[in-house]
Symmetry: C2
Subunit: 361 residues, 2 copies
């Protein structure tokens, strides 16, 4: 999704692709195939780049270290990226900074887990410090026995299960020069641990809450030395207070609405930020934009459903990722902007559901 903005900005992209038919390889001229965990392949790739960035957080530390040693300009830096890679490092740092978090402990022994359960009450959230995404590596533990396999694997992050009203996300970009720009706070709707819908801005949000949430995001970006797009996922506890759930240091699902709904979309802004170009305006283009994710269904062929939704609603912006369809996989999204929230939600979700095949008219 950086390909379009890069072409318009006059920036030449290259991508280290996992396979010749990877989604990004289909739309980027220079797309050598290589494994992001293969130090030699990554170094060889980076040798041709002015700046190197990532589209996920799972690049191993030793690969990042080798890139730094070779003089590659990594953005974000490994020192910042670790807080998106390692949830224990993230909780430790945010707590030091006084950013509101759920109560948490990093446990290696059952005694620690039991003491934490005593303190915050069961059930608990159990999270793998590294490697999770879209609900993977995260589980609700209803009692101590469910933590046994986690503790056998090593360190586990335990968090209190917070009672929240809804989920919010603060999305912003931060550049090496220290310039920052934040989009409006959005509401994210999760289904089975996967983000299915985003509403920008978060409907009816208290302006003071929005300001404090944005301030927290900007402070995190500054203190952690983030470059590029930072997504701060939050729980809105009661309309007044929030706690931070997760961090992502890259364009994020919660910012896809901005591709059509803001003056500067997140992929353009990410490029501007990692290249240390001046950032663009994050102002919305319309009062409300709704994004709905298109998940893969049972039907591998999308074309006729795609035609149908384009014909039904000429204002829809449908984004397809060129990925093979697999049930539940994010294969695209739709954005629609306007003023009537209920109408926009119906239209975006109808299109996503129709392409996915869960509805037939």
């Amino acid at each position: 999704m950086c390909a379009g903005p890069a072409a318009e900005l006059g920036v030449t992209l290259a991508v280290l692709a996992e396979s010749p038919d990877a989604a990004a390889a289909q739309v980027v001229r220079s797309a050598p195939v290589g494994d992001h965990a293969d130090i030699a392949a990554v170094l060889d790739f980076a040798a041709g780049c002015d700046v190197v960035t990532f589209d996920h957080e799972h690049v191993p530390s030793e690969v990042l270290a080798a890139l730094v040693a070779a003089g590659a300009a990594l953005q974000p830096t490994p020192a910042a990226l670790v807080f998106a890679q390692d949830k224990v490092a993230m909780r430790t740092r945010l707590t030091q900074l006084g950013i509101p978090c759920p109560r948490w402990v990093a446990a290696t022994e059952m005694d620690e887990a039991l003491a934490f359960g005593e303190l915050v009450g069961w059930p608990l959230m159990a999270k793998a410090p590294r490697g999770g995404y879209d609900g993977k590596g995260v589980e609700i533990a209803f009692g101590p026995e469910e933590l046994t396999p986690w503790l056998e694997r090593g360190l586990v992050l335990l968090e209190e299960l917070v009672d929240f009203r809804r989920e919010l996300a603060v999305l912003l970009a931060h550049s090496p020069s220290g310039q920052a720009a934040a989009w409006p706070v959005v509401e994210t709707v999760q289904t089975d641990g996967i983000c299915t819908q985003v509403i920008a801005p978060a409907p009816g949000i208290d302006p003071d809450l929005a300001a404090r949430a944005t301030e927290a995001g900007l402070r995190i970006a500054g203190e952690l030395g983030v470059t590029g797009v930072l997504a701060v996922e939050m729980f809105d506890l009661d309309g007044e207070r929030f706690v931070v759930n997760e961090l992502a240091m890259r364009p994020h699902n919660s910012g896809h609405w901005s591709m059509d709904g803001a003056i500067t979309g997140q992929f353009e802004q990410h490029l501007r930020a990692v290249l240390d170009l001046p950032l663009g305006s994050p102002l919305p283009r319309a009062p409300v934009t709704v994004m709905a994710n298109i998940l893969g269904g049972d039907e591998p062929e999308l074309y006729s459903a795609y035609r149908h939704v384009l014909a039904r609603d000429p204002e829809l912006k449908v984004h397809l990722y060129g990925k093979q369809v697999r049930p539940g996989r994010k294969i695209g999204h739709v954005n629609v902007s306007g003023t009537d929230l209920a109408d926009l939600i119906e239209r975006a979700q109808h299109a996503a559901d129709y392409i996915q095949g869960v509805i037939r008219e």
Copy 2:
């Protein structure tokens, strides 16, 4: 400029590039090098495509005929494209349709030219029937002697020099199924025969004139069997009447504003039209959008000027084409949207002038 929309629509592009470093070749994965006048090269290229379209009108008729004979799906068809390639064919057909045109004659002999000059008065416009663009192939003839070299070359299109208030353009898309969608009528500002600025919609345009101009554009698209984007350049004679100046059957400079200023930009719409996908909404996203062309100046290196304009105005959308800088060549454009026309014109033109190097602050 189709690359971004194609990536988002999930459409795979290939381009027959004039050279390995051609602008389009930099952003399209499949970009074999070949000459658009080389029948074998074009046939070989087209064999891998579902639909073939053009980014200029100068593909020779024999190449188009060979493509049709080989079964390639050309959009627009050669039968339609001829009206954008051949100005005499265009004037003949529009006159048959009753579309307002300047008075004209296709002359091969000085007698015809003299009689026409007698009828409409000197000076006249002399136009080469084929091959012109951006003011090339067009000249004002102040007296018969200036027509001698034109007549020696063969057929010349002579037109009355019309006295107009301003220039307008109707931009629309038309699909093989017959669906059509027109953007608002825009004002185009020309400097030395080159479009330098576009204002969308045309400020203060009489709604009746806008409706009749749009209706003429839609009628031309339908009657000529145009597919893809059609630009109809017009002279606004007196705020009430118009005559058609030129046709272009492709995304056109007068539609660049739509890339940021409309729900569906012209490059996305062109792809949707030539692929016979349902067309997107051409509605503006803002009350006014101003586009200013960036022309090449004396400075081959644009980077510092580019950084400056991005920093000065975060709402600017700067599009660079990846072309080598040559004085006067269109190398990019900027769009800016809002409500205050004078402010938007100042900001767009400042950015274009600054990158071009004609102003230094």
